[in-house]
């Protein structure tokens, strides 16, 4: 029931975003979208993902988008092309995704390959082998430690990528910029 209400909220926010041309309102609404999404994830017992969604999706990235808006105009210009091709593309991809969900197992089904492969081994041995009762943490950091090292390296790469792309030009005007800032 609560899932249903949250999904309706999600759809309403999405339709609102589609209809708007004011970028400021869109940024605020996408922050709201992230909060609804975080609630939905917590309802589905994915608390870790919910926390990340709330902090990154609704918190930090909203602020980042606002600071990007500060550099540009807050209204989208009128579109120069016909909307038909993008619309057809969206409908096609959406239909393909919905077709794909038919093959997904039911939510919470214990007989899926995910729950029958290595999952039971982790559940049985986590406390004995690592003394960590939270199996999510022991899988993430110990059993699948290589993957998490890779993820950390991805975040590191994203960080230096943004810094190298956006910092380069600021350095040149730093002498003038610092004076104006004070």
């Amino acid at each position: 029931m609560i899932n249903f209400i949250l999904l309706i909220f999600l759809a309403a926010v999405t339709l609102g975003i589609v209809g708007l041309r004011n970028l400021f309102a869109i940024v605020v609404l996408s922050g709201g979208y992230s909060f609804v999404m975080a609630t939905l994830l917590i309802v589905m017992d994915a608390v870790d993902v919910g926390m990340t969604e709330a902090a990154v999706g609704a918190g930090v990235s909203t602020v980042l988008l606002l600071s990007a808006l500060h550099l540009t105009s807050t209204e989208t210009g009128p579109s120069k092309h016909s909307n038909l091709l993008p619309l057809a593309l969206v409908i096609l991809i959406g239909a393909a995704l919905i077709y794909g969900t038919w093959d997904l197992p039911m939510y919470g089904d214990p007989e899926t390959p995910v729950h029958r492969h290595v999952g039971p081994y982790y559940l049985e041995n986590s406390v004995r082998q690592t003394t960590i009762p939270n199996v999510v943490t022991s899988v993430l950091a110990s059993y699948r430690g290589y993957d998490t090292l890779g993820e950390t390296a991805v975040i590191f790469t994203a960080g230096i990528g943004v810094m190298m792309l956006l910092r380069g030009r600021r350095k040149k005007s730093d002498a003038g910029g610092a004076g104006q800032g004070d």
């Binding site: 930090v60 500060h70 960590i132 430690g145 290589y146 810094m163 956006l166 600021r170």
Partner: protein
């Protein structure tokens, strides 16, 4: 932002709570939901909130950009460093069991805690570094 009394008072209550909650999520990750990723982004959100209300200059006094830039690679180094230490102690890469010569389960626990710390440092620093870079462009 001198006049926004309500925002400032609210922020002074919220920001320490956010940072404390981030630490809780980090340290309690072995028992409850959470870990380095979550703690890093929650702490970063707290710092971003601080800079929204008290300004970028005040924030950069509290969290210097240089420190943040060191933190981005430092976290990966901590993580990979744990792997190298386990190598030196005779185990496989990231095989935490060898960190404690008596009880491999305790070694696992210690290893997980250390790599989560590495994840926290990189995630937090990257978030703040991206934020500083974005905001720095507009000035």
């Amino acid at each position: 932002m001198k006049r926004n009394l309500i925002l400032r008072v609210l922020a002074k209550i919220l920001i320490p709570t956010l940072l404390l909650f981030a630490l809780y999520v980090q340290m309690h990750g072995d028992f409850g939901p959470g870990g380095g990723f979550q703690a890093g982004v929650i702490a970063a959100a707290g710092i971003v909130l601080y800079s929204l209300i008290f300004g970028l200059q005040e924030t950069q006094k509290a969290v210097p950009p240089l420190l943040v830039e060191i933190g981005v690679p430092l976290g990966v180094l901590i993580y990979a460093g744990v792997g190298v230490v386990t190598w030196i102690l005779g185990g496989n890469f990231l095989e935490y069991g060898v960190l404690d010569s008596h009880d491999s389960a305790h070694g696992q626990h210690l290893g997980v805690m250390l790599v989560e710390m590495g994840v926290l440092v990189t995630v937090f620093s990257t978030m703040i570094a991206i934020f500083y870079t974005f905001v720095g462009r507009g000035r």
